[in-house]
Amino acid sequence: MSAACGMVWARLAGLLMAGGLVFAGLFMGAPAGAQWVAPASATAALPGDSERLALIQRRGSLVVGVKTDYPLFGGLNAQGEPEGLEHDLAADLARRLGVRLTRVSVTSANRLQRLEEGSVDVVIATLGDTAERRRIATLIEPHYYASGVTLFVRPDSPVREWSDLRGQTVCATQGAYFNREMARRYLLDLQIYNLPRDARLAVRDGRCAGYLFDHTAIAADLRQPEWAGYRAPLPVVLNAPWAIAISRKERGSAFDRWLGDTVADWHRSGFLLERERAWGLPASRFLKDTRELWSRQQADGTPMCLRGIDGQWPAACRNPAFVSSAEVSGLMQWGLRLRETTGIDLSIVYDPEDRRAFGSGLMMTLGLTLACIAGSLLVGLAGAMLREARWSLVRAFAAFSNVLGRMTPPLLQIYLLLFGIGALLAEYGLRLSPFWVAVACLSFYTGAGVMSALREAALVHRQTDPDYRIHPRRLASIVPLASGAVVAALINVAKATMMASAVAVPELLSVTTTIMAERGNVGVMMNIVLVLFLLLIMALVRLLGLIEQRLVRGAPRRKSVV
């Protein structure tokens, strides 16, 4: 078969050169030299129960609808020849089938119509997968690419994360479907221009932090000499998956399955990633993640993503946006049914990845809370002891630390230590862990309060015993007097642990903002996280109250006044 394929190619290349058959309105020839070595295992076992597949093999050519107005995916080069990533995919399909490739130029307006009337076999034309389109055509899973949104910025832009842009002015163009959604998910202040050109000039003149647009279009802009040095440093978000389309009548046919298997193979072999690089597109997370997912193996070594008896891919391998509750079971079914019936998008229930991230965020928050409580008690006790030390210098240091701890916002302390001091330490090759920096600063801040409470309690003792000193061995005498204020301080530190999210510690709040930025379920996630934190704090109040009661049993409880 590969010999036959090679012959076809040679014949075609010859034809091209001899006849000068270049872009001629609708019909085009295959690009010369566009051959890659990729496993073609699927071609060996082609079931023949597809009318279309039979037709393709009878006529000896595959007719693919591709674009010529979308640079890098389907555009024209300087010589006016059609080329692009999708043209490469079309060529590989023909190669695998061992037939000639005939390319037909389609547009966004007519691509599905061409399929319906049967004048093309396959459409690979930047077609985003939607439920509506699935009704008029068969869209192949898995998806071969996903377009998303990114930010075009000046060469000197300091922006590194989407969250850096909260509250900032960002340029956008009128009518883009993602404008509203991006403003909602990332709290952007959008400045809307009529034309992409105006928006790009606004970026150049520093009127906004960057230009928000489709990443495939930005990738094309960045290749223009005019924008040399300009960058798109942010990860592509709001990914809209692109699907290869065939006729509605071919749903579930051998052709449908063969195309799906081929796209899966493109992901597994790294072919798509390699083509993305070759066309100078920014590395998309979609391709990286999909390759990782489709390369996963089960315990017995077989791939995880294998078609079931019904010919469907397992739900775990599919984009959950296109999975219905009828196709799955368990938690996933429950979560999807909720989404279908009420519109409540609980992705942390039905999506295994979100579920895992949310769970680990919760554990991280619990760990932070425990560490901060222990840290505050330690700092408070140590501070109180130092404050009563024999040496006046030590006493002054403790007093100064107390004022500094109480009078600077903990968030500022975190930045000062992690970035300010961290930059100095970095010169000696030391790196601070954001988790422990957050624990240290929150403990310092709350420890100051604990220290004051312990000292006030000691003051009471000193009325009867002037030599009374705070000491770990004499804790029992001080706990009943100080416990109320100490517990209040510890609850306060538990209410502040989520500040660690500001320095990218993956705790509950930070995981939540990531999930809702990705899924768009802002309302659901915000409600969940608020209630969850409220419950956590209330449970802690209960728990600390119980512990306090245990410790001070018998001792008279002081009523808190003002």
Binding site: D156, P158, L165, R166, G167, Q168, R184, L187, V403, L404, R406, M407, T408, P409, L411, L412, Q413, Y415, L416, F419, G420, I421, A423, L424, S452, A453, E456, G484, A485, A488, I491, N492, K495, A496, M498, M499, S501, A502, L509, T513, M516, V522, G523, M526, V529, L530, F533, L534, I537, M538, V541, R558, K559, S560, V561, V562
Partner: protein, 230 residues
């Protein structure tokens, strides 16, 4: 942008000081946020305190429940909640007039929930004392309330995480604009100094006032203020 790789500390300090007016302007926003939060929180807290001291048991229970809630909501999470859930503009019904809700107002709203909890707890004690005729004890709420206001000023720096251009957020802007990592320490240290130098003397005054009032009005000693921080 064309700064040398390594600036001396003095050069960094001098450059930091040139940004002082810009940073102080941000601190003004911190004060504004705190003032609005204190105003709204005190009003809501007063309503809750009244409810808790009222006669109908349902109203009283509702007052206690709401106080419990406001005491336990972490304001940092609530700040995110409001930033993402409140619209940035509201159209008044009928008139079609559009009101913008700037980020700093959302931040003030978020912080006001902590103030509400604090005031509900302490005002109900003060009101009870006042009704018993113990006016001096009731007036003790004033220094505590002012002290709490300073805690809110510090908490207002959390508004930086949702992009409100207050002091901390402006520190980050300055560091990003100069593109010089050596600036981080002096800029953040300057912000610390602004907070300490503003809040510390005021706290001292409040503590002094409180002690004077306690000595004067109280018949027995009492514990330190207990109230949830933001």
């Amino acid at each position: 942008m064309n700064l040398p790789e390594h600036q001396t500390l003095t050069e960094s300090l001098i450059e930091t000081l040139t940004w002082l007016p810009f940073l102080l302007e941000g601190f003004g926003l911190n004060l504004l946020i705190s003032a609005l939060a204190m105003l709204m929180g005190t009003l809501c807290g007063a309503v809750l305190a009244q409810a808790r001291l009222s006669r109908p048991p349902t109203l009283r229970r509702a007052g206690h429940l709401l106080t419990e809630l406001t005491r336990n909501v972490p304001t940092f999470v609530f700040l995110y909640y409001l930033a993402f859930m409140l619209p940035t503009e509201i159209r008044l019904p009928g008139g079609g007039e559009i009101w913008l809700i700037p980020g700093w107002v959302k931040a003030a709203l978020a912080l006001s929930i902590a103030v509400t909890g604090f005031c509900a707890d302490n005002l109900s004690l003060a009101l009870a004392a006042w009704r018993e005729g113990d006016h001096g004890r009731a007036l003790l709420i004033i220094p505590s309330w002012a002290g709490y206001g300073l805690i809110i000023v510090m908490a207002s720096s959390t508004a930086s995480v949702v992009g409100v251009p207050e002091l901390l957020s402006r520190c980050n802007t300055v560091i990003a604009a100069t593109g010089n990592t050596g600036m981080m320490l002096p800029v953040y240290a300057l912000a610390c100094a602004i907070f300490v130098l503003t809040c510390w003397p005021l706290i001292q005054v409040m503590d002094h006032l409180k002690r004077r009032m306690m000595d004067r009005y109280l018949r027995y000693p009492l514990a330190t203020a207990r109230g949830g921080r933001p």
